[in-house]
């Protein structure tokens, strides 16, 4: 079950070069290609004649030619050529998806075309800010339903167990969580006061000694997240307080694209408020984050299998409040969308 009226990441921009680039999103096959002006088009990846994927054909200028009988489609999905036919059948067309290129990512709108508003794409703070560094992200495929990933990204508690050697510390086991349900999604957060910095962050802190640490896990519908890590000198942190200049800020952006019900493509990158041009820092961050996400992947893949094959009931705990409220509200949105679609048909 997916929310259709939303932007989803289809690829990194550099992945779509001179060739045809097939992707599967929300159970649909889509082909991406660059037009001669450099912009990207997204079409249903199936020729209406015999359903050969258009991605097995060729790019011809701003059009795609089917590799079976040469039917040709422009970026609006309109058929411009049917070799051997006197007239082009009106029904010869493929679905065209709205595409936006932003933050180095290609975003595809999976819902009703006239509702595709680029302003709805997830906002990345400090994008282009010269004081902020970025480590260009990565992606991976995870064999789990995307909602296990939104669960994970609304769950600061797992850090103490899954990422013991990196993001975790003793304080991440016991400090209670706050859950805010808002219009765009759910945020789970906590401040841990006067604690040891976690091993992964310690080398980057610009101040000595202990710290006040905030974990801020915010997921927007349907499955886009920002995880904010804040480390302030001990006793200077706290909600709503002006933080000292040496405070460490790292914003981790996480964009999930359901490939289907059982598989999810995961895209991410991080923004930080220091060492903007230090390639070594970026490389270290990229490697560490990748390592942590590999730990998540092992857990989430097994969780999906475990839940699908459970023989006894599973239970929900207090730490599941955020994830469950998120799931409930998203399910309502999906239901409402399906109802509206049925009514329109």
């Amino acid at each position: 079950m997916f929310l259709r009226n939303s932007w989803y990441v289809a690829a990194w921009d550099h992945e779509v070069g001179a060739g045809l680039h097939p992707v599967r999103m929300l159970g649909e096959e889509i082909v991406l290609f660059r037009k001669t002006d450099g912009t990207v088009a997204a079409l249903e990846d199936a020729c209406p004649h015999r359903k050969l994927p258009l991605s097995m054909g060729r790019i011809k200028g701003d059009t795609v030619e089917c590799g079976y009988h040469g039917l040709t489609f422009d970026s609006s999905g309109t058929c411009t050529r049917v070799p051997g036919a006197e007239r082009i059948p009106h029904v010869a067309c493929v679905r065209a998806y709205p595409v936006e290129e932003r933050y180095g990512l290609l975003w595809v709108w999976m819902g009703e075309r006239d509702r595709a508003d680029p302003a709805l794409i997830f906002t990345v703070d400090h994008w282009g800010d010269p004081a902020w560094g970025i480590n260009r992200g990565d992606s991976m495929e995870i064999a789990c339903n995307y909602l296990y990933m939104t669960d994970n990204l609304l769950d600061p508690s797992h850090v103490a167990w899954v990422h013991q050697s990196s993001f975790g510390s003793a304080a991440t086991e016991e400090t209670p969580l706050n859950t805010d349900v808002h219009e765009r999604g759910v945020t789970v957060w906590r401040w841990m006061v006067d604690v040891e910095p976690a091993p992964f962050y310690a080398p980057y802190l610009q101040f000595p000694g202990k710290c006040d640490r905030k974990q801020h896990y915010e997921v927007h519908y349907p499955c886009h997240a920002i995880i904010r890590a804040i480390f302030a000198p001990a006793h200077t942190g706290g909600e709503g307080r002006e933080l000292p200049a040496e405070t460490f800020l790292m914003d981790s952006y996480n964009f999930m694209t359901p490939i289907d019900e059982n598989t999810t493509k995961y895209y991410w990158f991080q923004m930080r408020n220091f060492a903007p041009d230090d390639a070594a820092v970026s490389a270290q961050f990229a490697a560490s984050v990748r390592g942590a996400f590999d730990e998540d992947r092992a857990v989430l893949t097994a969780v999906h299998k475990g839940m699908a094959n459970k023989r006894t009931p599973n239970l929900d705990l207090k730490i599941d409040v955020g994830p469950l409220r998120f799931r409930r509200n998203l399910a309502r949105m999906i239901e409402a969308e399906a109802t509206a679609r049925t009514a329109a048909e």
């Binding site: 079950m1 339903n145 909602l147 296990y148 289907d260 019900e261 059982n262 839940m307 699908a308 094959n309 023989r311 009931p313 599973n314 239970l315 929900d316 705990l317 207090k318 599941d320 409040v321 469950l324 409220r325 799931r327 409930r328 399910a331 309502r332 239901e335 109802t339």
Partner: protein, 372 residues
């Protein structure tokens, strides 16, 4: 909606996926659904009288509805028997759940269910004769009890059932067949307005209500275990009739279908489902003045306003209700609110049904009686 190769979507907590394997029309308004575990494993036995809580995805979101199990309890599969309810006045079931089942659910469909659970169960340790007294679709738990009594005991059983007429009478042939299994079993069907066809077929045994006189004419003087289930007006009338015939309260176990009301004067705590007398309430401590009565435990204590929730308060009295999240999302601590009013200090993920509460996130706002 889900492709066949996909595993079921991630389910809500404590839910079991059940596949509908058969749908049987029992009367003009009542339909049975036979359910098996979606994973093919045999379903665990239940206690006759218990119910399933179905989580039904309807237009308004997911709703939860309780349906008594009407089949034999140990066959590895379940049967619920559901009356199509209409929204016909305040306090009546809204019909959303039953219409969904009647109109949209059929063989092959998957239902998400919690349970079986419920404390209204047949006491199999008792050796007293049994009266199973039901009105309308309230006969469903009684049929499950009759299965057990017919096959596993030698007790005398009176299955007394009241309904409008033969058109709406469900499971008639099944009950007749069960009481024919051995001596000592007897069924009496009472129609309020029998049709001409009912008269021609001699489908019923009596006409009108189960009045005091009607019951006295059917039951000889004895010490019975009485099980009572039906709509509130039926329950109130029959309960009063039984009491006036000298049946002790402690011998009457009952379950409301629809909103729970109080059978006798509002001050009296109703008897527990198990036929055991309630000990005298503990003396009230000074405090909030809001009395919290744990009916099944025979305990009445003044609410402590510093308690985070009724769950914490119950635990402070030495009770051990089931719980998991303690935050209003898992539904494990759902309990029956026999009477009184509570307020939610945390929004529950699924609003509890009429007559129920989530202990973990409520405070009393009036004296309350809990089924604990």
């Amino acid at each position: 909606m889900t492709p066949p190769e996909a595993p079921p979507p991630p389910a809500a907590p404590g839910l079991r996926a059940l596949r509908v394997v058969a749908k049987t029309r029992e009367s003009s308004v009542i339909t049975s659904f036979w359910l098996e575990a979606a994973d093919g494993q045999p379903l665990p036995p239940f206690r006759a009288g218990q119910f399933l809580t179905l989580h039904l995805p309807v237009y308004q979101g997911t709703i939860r509805r309780n349906y008594s199990l009407s089949g034999p309890p140990d066959q590895g599969r379940y049967r619920i028997t559901v009356k199509r309810e209409g929204a016909n006045g305040p306090g009546r079931p809204d019909g959303i759940g039953s219409s969904h089942l009647h109109d949209r659910i059929g063989p092959g469909d998957i239902l998400q269910a919690q349970g079986p659970h419920g404390a209204f169960v047949l006491d199999e340790t008792s050796e007293r004769p049994v009266v199973l007294l039901s009105g309308g679709v309230g006969l469903t738990p009684m049929v499950a009890m009759l299965h057990v009594l017919a096959c596993r005991s030698t007790r005398e059983v009176h299955f007394l059932h009241a309904c409008e007429n033969g058109d709406v009478h469900a499971l008639r042939d099944e009950v007749r067949a069960l009481v024919a299994l051995r001596p000592g079993l007897r069924a009496h069907f009472r129609y309020r307005q029998p049709t001409g066809a009912d008269r021609a077929a001699r489908a019923f045994d009596g006409e009108g209500y189960f009045t005091r006189e009607a019951i006295r004419g059917l039951l000889s003087l004895d010490d019975y275990d009485v099980y009572l289930c039906g709509p509130p007006p039926f329950m109130q009338a029959v309960h009063a009739a039984l009491r006036s015939l000298g049946v002790p309260k402690t011998r009457i176990a009952y379950e409301f279908f629809g909103p729970a009301t109080v059978l006798e004067d509002a001050a009296a705590a109703p008897p527990p489902a198990a036929a055991a007398p309630i000990p005298a309430p503990a003396s009230a401590a000074a405090g909030s003045g809001l009395r919290v009565t744990f009916a099944r435990s025979g305990l009445a204590v003044d609410w402590d306003a510093t308690a985070p929730s009724l769950l914490d308060f119950a635990e402070a009295q030495g009770l051990t209700p089931a719980f998991s999240c303690r935050a209003g999302v898992c539904g494990t601590c759902t309990s029956r609110l026999v009477s009184g009013e509570v307020r939610y200090v945390e929004d529950p993920l699924d609003p509890p049904q009429e007559g129920e509460l989530l202990l973990c996130c409520t405070h009393p706002v009036s004296p309350v009686v809990l089924d604990l």
